[in-house]
Symmetry: C2
Amino acid sequence: MLSQAITEELENIVGNGNVQTSQASRLVYSYDATPNFQALPDAVVAPRSTEEVAEVVKVCNREKIPIVPRGSGTNLCAGTVPTEGGIVLLFKHMNKILEIDEDNLTVTVQPGVITLDMIEAVEKKQLFYPPDPSSMKISTIGGNINENSGGLRGLKYGVTRDYVLALEAVLPNGDIIRTGGKLAKDVAGYDLTRLLVGAEGTLGVITEATLKLVPMPETKQTMLALFSDMEAAARSVSSIIANRIIPVTLEFLDQPTLKAVEDFAEIGLPTDAEAVLLIEQDGAKEVVERDIQRIAEICLNEGALSAEVASSKEEALELTAARRAALSALARLRPTTILEDATVPRSEVANMVRAINEIAKEYNVTICTFGHAGDGNLHPTCLTDVRDEEEMHRVEEAFAAIFAKALELGGTITGEHGVGMMKAPYLEWKLGEEGIALMRAIKQAIDPNHIMNPAKLFAKETRKRVVVSQ
Amino acid sequence: MLSQAITEELENIVGNGNVQTSQASRLVYSYDATPNFQALPDAVVAPRSTEEVAEVVKVCNREKIPIVPRGSGTNLCAGTVPTEGGIVLLFKHMNKILEIDEDNLTVTVQPGVITLDMIEAVEKKQLFYPPDPSSMKISTIGGNINENSGGLRGLKYGVTRDYVLALEAVLPNGDIIRTGGKLAKDVAGYDLTRLLVGAEGTLGVITEATLKLVPMPETKQTMLALFSDMEAAARSVSSIIANRIIPVTLEFLDQPTLKAVEDFAEIGLPTDAEAVLLIEQDGAKEVVERDIQRIAEICLNEGALSAEVASSKEEALELTAARRAALSALARLRPTTILEDATVPRSEVANMVRAINEIAKEYNVTICTFGHAGDGNLHPTCLTDVRDEEEMHRVEEAFAAIFAKALELGGTITGEHGVGMMKAPYLEWKLGEEGIALMRAIKQAIDPNHIMNPAKLFAKETRKRVVVSQ
C-alpha cells in the first residue's frame, strides 16, 4: 500500500478524486482480458495532462513505485495486470482527439481515445486509419500503440507501428520527449518512435500520438470461400499471393470455429465446411471487382466447394461481424478461453494448422483455430477451465509445443497480442540469449529503477524449450 | 595506426588480402560523398562472413578500435568518414542476394548488394522494392538500411525502414542477433529491427537483411506541370492530396535547378517556368489514367501554365532520369555542391521554399531547391566553393537558418540523408536535451566502448540555435 504521504502527494498532482485507493477500485484494475492473471494495484491514478503524468512518474521513480499504464485492458498477454503492485495509470481524462489534419493526412490524439471513435471521426472526413484490432470498439489508441496492435487488415495495410508518425512520452526519469513529426521522412537520430511502439509500457508513458491516415478506399467487396479440407484453403491463400493480389483481409476459420460462430450469430453459415476463407478487397471499383473475381476463380481452382461474393453491403457486414465475433462465440463453449497468436510465414500456414491439430490431439485439449491467414497470424484458441489444474497443465504444455513449432517454421511466439506476463517465459526462444541481453541493456539504460510496467516482457525464468515431435 | 600484432590478428580472421593498410587504400576510404570531410582510417578490412565480422568486432571492442561500416559511401552526411581512425569495414565479399521468396514476398540479402541490382533481380519476378534513393545505382542495401534511405517514391510507399522485416547483426560485444522474420506481424519484444535501421552503424554491424516486397504495379504514367510561380505549384501539391490522391512521385524543381538540369540533359525542358512538378502515378491501368487526368485538371485549376502527360515510356524515363540527374547537373556549376534535406510537413512546402529563398538572399549564397514535394522532403542545394572560407562560413550560417526554419514549421533537420558528422551539431534542436540524453543512454548501454562509428550522430558540441527572422 502507498503511504498516506505519497497518496497525498499524488492527489496534489492530479486532483483529489483522481487517486483511488479503495478496495473496490483496486479490484476493478486487478486484471485485464487475459484469463488466469490477477493482482491488486496499490492505487489507481488518473492524470489530466502530460505535465501531471511527468510529476506522477517523478514521484514513482523517486519512491520506486511500479507504474502500469492502462487503456481499456483488452490485451490478451496480461500486459496490464499490476503483478508488482504500484499504481495503475488511467487515461480517462486524456481522451481527446486533438486534431485531424486534412492537408497532412494525420490525426493527433491523446492516449485514452477509443480506437473506434477515432476511426469513425476520421472516416467522416473520408480518411482511413487501417489498423483494426478485434477489440477496437473498447480498446484505446494508447493501448494499441503500447501493444503495437494488429488486426484483420494487416496483410495489405500493416499494423499500428506503421501508422505512428510522432509521439509525446514521459520517460521513467520524468523527462518529456517528443519524437517524429507530421513527416513521411525523418531520420534525425534513433527511431525512438518505434522503440516506444510495442514496448508494452516498459520504457515510458505515451501521452500523445500523431498517426498517419490514408485516403478512404473507394469501395470494398467481401466474399466467402468454403473448403472441404484445410489444405485447399491454405493452397488458395498461397495462390492468391502468387497471383500478385494482396487482399485487405484473408481470414481463415476452421470447422469448430465456424460452427461456434454460426451457433452464436445465426446468419446461415454452412457449418459442414472443413475450412472457410473470408476475403475482402478494397480500393478502386474496377480493381476490386477484377481482384475479387480472380480470387474466386483461384479458390475454385484450388478445390473450394464454393466461392460467393456478398451480394449486399449488409451481407458483407454480417460476414465480417461474424468473423469478429469468433472469440465471443468460442468463449461461450467452456468456462475459460485462451486465445493465442502464434504466427508463421504465410507459406507455412497449412503446416502450422496441421501441427496445431496434432498437438491438440497429443495433449488431449480442445483447440479451435482461426486467424489472419494472409499474414500467417493464427489464433489457436483453447477451450478449457482454469479450475481444472490437471487440464490447465496440459493446455500450457500444448501451447509451449505450438510456440516451439511456430519458431521452427520461421515464425514468432506472438504476432499481435504482445508478450506481457503471459509469454515472457518464451521470449528467449525467439530472440536468443543475445537478444534478451540487448533488450535488458536498453531497459536498464532507460528505466534503471524498473518502475515501468515491471515483470512484463522480461521473465524471471525462461521456460525449458519443448522439443516438437515431427 | 594498428600495431603489427593487431593487423596480424585481423588477417588471421579475414584472410591475408582482406586487411589493407597501405597509404593508397586508406586514402580511398578517407572520405565519402559529403564535401569537406576527410580523415584516414588505420586499416580497411573486408570480412567474408557474419562470423568473421563478429570476430573482427570482438578484437576491436577489446582494443577499443573504432569501426566504420561502409557500403559505397554515397551518403551525404559524412556518415562513413573515419574521423576517429580505426578500421573501415567493407562488404565487398558479402554481396549476395541469398533468396527471393515468392510465396512470402521477401528478398534476403547480404549488406554489400548494390540497391539497383537487387531491384532489378526482384523486378524480373514481377516484384517491387519501392525505396529508390537517388544513389541506388551505386549504393548498397546495407548502406540504405543504416541510413534509412528514402527516395522519390516515399510519398506513396514509405522509406527503407518500412521494408525491413528481419535483420542479422553483430553487436559491439560480438554477439550475433537475429531480429524479426518473414512476418507481417511480430510483437515479440522491443522493435530491435527498427532500432538498428537508421542508426547509422552506431549500434552494430548489419550482416544480413530480409526485405519486404510488393507486387509490381501494373502500369505507371508520368507527367510534367509547369508553373509561373512557386505558390501555384505548392497549392497544386496540397490540392492533389486534398482530393485524396496519393501519387507515387510528386517532385518539385525550382527554376535554377530546372535550367541546370536542361543544360545537362538537353531534353527540351522549358527553362522559363518558375517551378515544375514531375508527377508519377502507378497501379492498375484504370486508376492510373483517372488519377493522372484528375491531377492534370487540379494543376491547371491551381494556375499551371501546362500539365502534359508523357506520351511514351521513353519520354517518361527521360523526364525521371532528368530529375534524378539534378544533383549532377547542379554540381557542374560551382566547385562545391552541398545538398541538404530539410524536411517539413507537406502543407508547409511553400512556406519553406519561400524561406529558403529569403535566407539565400540574406546570406548572399546561391541555393537551388528541388525535392520530394509530396512528402515535404526538400533538397536546398548550395553551389559554393570550399576553398573560399568566408563564403563557406555564410553557407554554414544559411543552412543553420534553414534547419531552424524547418523545425519552426514542424519539420526536421534531415528527412533522408542522416545525421552523421554533418548534422550532429544540430540534432539537439530537433530532439531536445531529453531526446539526446535518451539516445546517449541507449548508445552507452549497447556500445559502452564507443567503437561503432564514433563521432556520428552525437556531437561534441551542439550548435547555438539560430533565431529565424520572420
